[in-house]
């Protein structure tokens, strides 16, 4: 009887503890956290101890549940398992962050290196650019110098040419003035008066040497210039006589010039006779003016003025 009572009391007390194990939410949560941690690639490396501790606590919780220990005990052990797993997850997260920091520092080094490389390249390009610009500027300066020199030479030449032309013109004008040349429609004309010839003669008197010499000097200095030598007479005597005489006198002047070196093709001669008087033949003075030799000058290019007689 006593035994029966003892067993009965013990069984009833046991039954209170040995009801079907209640499902523990805390245990489910712990398992879930441990699964999450275990799936992390870094779990063993960064949180090996946490994972081991969590699994140990979980196992203790499961044993406690199987042994029908009070839910408080099971939940407590499951809670410890969950917290170990959560600590492990935080350590895995920390390890990932540290890896990110390490990668970011590598990135930083690479950015700095790229930046400095590009700066160096830019500086080099700028230096080359500046050098090219300097060379360009130097070349332009040299060009400008050459152009300035050429312009100076041209200006000098032009000035010299102007001076020479002015000198030539002045010289020519002076020489013609010395010959007492007159400007007429037919061009510049020098008149050699009757005094250079004896009456009825065609030989030049010695007094003609000065004017012939000046003429020769002028023509030799201006080889382009041509002259026409015209002989004129007064109205005494026949036309044939006068024309022949005027022709001979013109030729005498031409010969005298030839002797002084004037080219023959620069000189033309013509006897005009009494046809072109410049004064009255009724007085001795008028007739003396009509007995003359006129020398007509071409322009410097050798062209005579075109005049209808």
């Amino acid at each position: 009887m006593k035994q029966v009572i003892l067993v009965g009391v013990a069984a009833s007390l046991l039954a209170a503890c040995a009801s079907v194990p209640q499902r523990s939410e805390q245990l489910d949560q712990a398992r879930s956290e441990i699964d999450t941690l275990a799936q992390e690639p870094l779990a063993q490396q960064a949180a090996g101890r946490d994972l081991a501790a969590a699994r140990q606590s979980l196992q203790q919780a499961e044993v406690a549940q199987q042994q029908h220990q009070p839910p408080g005990i099971v939940d407590h052990l499951a809670y410890l398992a969950m917290r170990h797993a959560q600590a492990g997850e935080a350590r895995v997260s920390e390890a990932r962050a540290r890896q990110q920091v390490a990668r970011a520092q590598e990135d930083r080094d690479k950015i700095l290196l790229d930046s400095r490389t590009r700066e160096a390249q830019n500086a080099q390009a700028q230096a080359q650019n500046a050098q090219a610009q300097a060379q360009n500027a130097q070349a332009q300066a040299q060009d400008a110098q050459v152009q300035a020199e050429a312009a100076r030479v041209q200006a000098e030449a032009a000035r010299n040419a102007t001076l020479a032309a002015q000198a030539q013109l002045a010289s020519t004008q002076q020489q013609l003035a010395d010959l007492q040349a007159k400007k007429t429609d037919r061009g510049m004309v020098v008149t050699l008066g009757d005094v250079l010839f004896d009456t009825g003669q065609s030989d030049l008197k010695p007094g003609a040497d000065l004017v012939i010499g000046r003429l020769a000097a002028f023509l030799n200095a201006n080889p382009q210039t041509k002259i026409m030598i015209e002989g004129h007479t007064d109205s005494r005597g026949s036309d044939e006589y006068n024309e022949a005489l005027s022709e001979r006198r013109a030729r005498a002047v031409a010969d005298a010039l030839s002797v002084r070196g004037v080219a023959q093709d620069s000189v033309h001669t013509m006897g005009r006779g009494k046809a072109y008087p410049v004064a009255s033949n009724d007085t001795p003075e008028g007739r003396q003016q009509n007995r003359r030799v006129e020398i007509i000058f071409s322009d410097p290019a050798g062209q005579f003025a075109q005049v209808s007689n």
Binding site: Q86, A87, E94, I111
Partner: protein
């Protein structure tokens, strides 16, 4: 052996079999000390900033352990101390994680700034040429 005595004996045996009603162990002074140490670590790691709730929970559990200890409920006190230590460890780990995340973010932002400056520098150079 009286019936009363036998009933008590049966209850003790049953409790011993069930485990849940195990006899009280010694005071958990070691567990409480460990919990305090880990809570200090959590404080130093900056848990107040990154894991305030976990830290608070650890403090509360430690207080509960001390209270239970004072009441002679040593097993309860031990469980509280164990929880306090686990909570403080979570707080420590989360604080370190928070610091590491912040560092990663700062470095990433620094790199972004550097990239932008570098790009601006490159653009400025390109314009200058």
């Amino acid at each position: 052996m009286s019936l009363r005595t036998e009933i008590i004996s049966a209850a003790v045996i049953a409790c011993g079999l069930a485990g849940g009603c195990a006899t009280e162990g010694p005071p958990p002074s070691e567990e409480v000390t460990r919990a305090r140490t880990v809570i200090e670590q959590a404080d130093k790691a900056g848990a107040q900033r990154y894991a305030a709730a976990d830290l608070q929970r650890a403090h509360d559990e430690l207080s509960n352990a001390e209270k239970s200890n004072g009441e002679g409920k040593y097993d309860e006190a031990r469980r509280y101390a164990e929880s306090a230590e686990a909570d403080a460890d979570v707080a420590t780990a989360r604080a370190s994680d928070g610091e590491a995340q912040r560092a990663a973010q700062e470095v990433a932002q620094g790199n972004e700034t550097l990239r932008q400056e570098s790009a601006r520098g490159a653009a400025a150079n390109a314009n200058a040429q």
